[in-house]
Amino acid sequence: MTNRPTLQLYIPEPLARPGEAVDFGGLVIPSAGSVDRPATDTPESELRLLPYQLIRVLDDEGQAVGPWKPEATPLQLLCGLRAMMLTRAFDERLFRAHRQGKTSFYMKSTGEEALGAAPSMVLGYDDMCFPTYRVLSWLMARGYPLTDLVNQIFSNAKDPLKGRQLPILYSARDYGFYSLSGNVGSRFGHAVGWAMASAYKQDDKIALAYIGEGTTAEGDFHEALTFASVYRAPVILCVTNNQWAISSFAGIAGANETTFAAKALAYGIPGLRVDGNDFLAVWAATEWAAERARTNQGATLIEFFTYRASGHSTSDDPTKYRPADEPNHWPLGDPITRLKRHLINEGIWDDERDVHLLGEVDNEVKVAVREAESVGTLGKSKPPIAEMFEGVFAEPDWRLIEQRLEAGITP
């Protein structure tokens, strides 16, 4: 046992901290269109290089190129652009609403608007999305009423969740949007169970779930993938790799060692690695995985490679742990800008219409906030206290009935 080397504990660190020059480690960005698009029934054994590549459709000029170019119609793309812009406008204003004391909490998805919007349009209303808190754009792409969102955020008398939930932990069954909870990762397996149920019933609905790259470290992630693989569940499992988990860089979740898409290899299912700031690539990858799911070929893991351009939440100041200008240097750009460039390139959009749309979505948000404010902001209005005691069980038991009385509520 002599002459052995001394062991050293390795702790990964990001390449740049506040005050240092931004460093993306010479991130190699393959050119758009360079990755093959295998048929969806290709055996997994032939797909084992995919997780190490990067599926991109939009090139630097805004051209859609290569085999992954989807068949989305111009109108679909315009709707996608609108959903993303609406998401951003909403985020900006509600973030400010928090600063103004109108609510307790808010989280933005800036830079990640494509991740919710494109899949929301690819999947059907019968399908179900199991969201994270950062895919508001799913709802935006489906026209969920803005005022209801704001009412939820304000926990006011018209809050569709009756004041029971933290702001933005929406639930919207009719929009294919499963109930969020504060725990990260814990619904990933629900998506698999839901998809298995659809298969069990010989229905045709599929599920799609999101999970942050940081959260892939939870046991839930592995358990969901194991079940999805073993029972070939019709589900699309998406890792939103936005490089950060609050203040922890993706290396703390293993990003220095391999890609998140490569985790698919552990389960013998295909893993796609996709430019998450490329609306068309996100669309195309979702379509590919959906086709597999719908044809009884089982689950697909998709890593959306993106960047969290804002702070984690209203409780966070990202300049405390990463260079303040890091977001500006993200080599894959901004999803809205890139789709817009493409649409202009395609001749179906222009700067003028864009400015107009910007005003339009901003106004929509403003109107919704105003409407919700007229009901009341946090603490100024709330649902009846009786709501606190509802929904614990299908029917309240004596404890809830007694306590409701104790709280001064007459039946």
Partner: protein, 356 residues
Amino acid sequence: MIMIDGDAPPATELQDVTATSTMTMVDALNSALDVMLTRDPDVLIFGEDVGYFGGVFRVTNGLQKRHGLQRCFDAPISEGGIIATAIGMGAYGLRPVPEIQFADYILPAFDQLVSEAARLRYRSNGEFWAPITVRSPYGGGIFGGQTHSQSPEAIFAHITGLKTVIPSNPYDAKGLLIASIECDDPVIFLEPKRLYNGPFDGRHEQAVKSWAGHGAAEVPTGHYSIPLGTAAIVRQGEAATVLAYGTMVHVALAGIQDSGIDAELIDLRSIVPLDIDTIVASVRKTGRCLILHEASRFGGFGGELSALVQERCFYELEAPVTRVAGYDTPYPHAFEWDYFPGPARLAAALTELMRG
């Protein structure tokens, strides 16, 4: 409602009953699952070894063969995954009845049960809910050592949004399991494994008894259910009230007999919802209360029961509410019968209670 001592179950609790047959608790649980698989295509079962093999305690024996591969199948060894999957299925509209092989192994799924199953309906304002029934063998008395013997009911009872059901005999087991599966709330259904094949009363030095001949072993073969939240008065008495559930119901009966005290014995049957009225009425009558459970005493469900009883019956109490329970140690293999709160400890405590 008295039924352990051989009386027929009251008619109000029965529906659909065509015939009865003598069943062990394993048989009765199997029958409940069989009935529900037959009646409701949305009921399905999965868990470790429950499929082809029929479960390590044989509770799902024959169900895969009878109802098909998709209705009763093996799951990966992943309790968290099993419950997460069940919740997702429940949200879709199914009524999954997952099995966790031992209650000791529910713990890896604790977050799924507490943060998800129990809270889904509340937080989504009723858009989604998880009508799942988690079956799991629990409790000791089989020399299973520390991790095949525990009684974790207290940690579930504290969780708002979960129901916890614990039968003590074949008749109840079937009726309560059917009620649990039909219930739209998540139910933790704890099966006292020491009762699976016979009514164990804690007299471990005696020959093993079988269910045959026990009144509660006459079980309807068809569909019936026992409402959750209704306790059963197993023995009527005037001198003191004994509260118990699961295996301890039989231990209590033996201990009461040994003590010669005319105690009333209440089998709670479900601890959430709790049949507070039956408890309070009994203690008001007897003026004395003893709580018996197998789990460690400190922080156990006995604390809640004791608190409730003295809150509601303080002025009727003639002696302190007493708890007899497992010691505050892990469940020890060689010391099973030292740890186990058997009839002698119960009888001694009851005698002491009468002195108070």
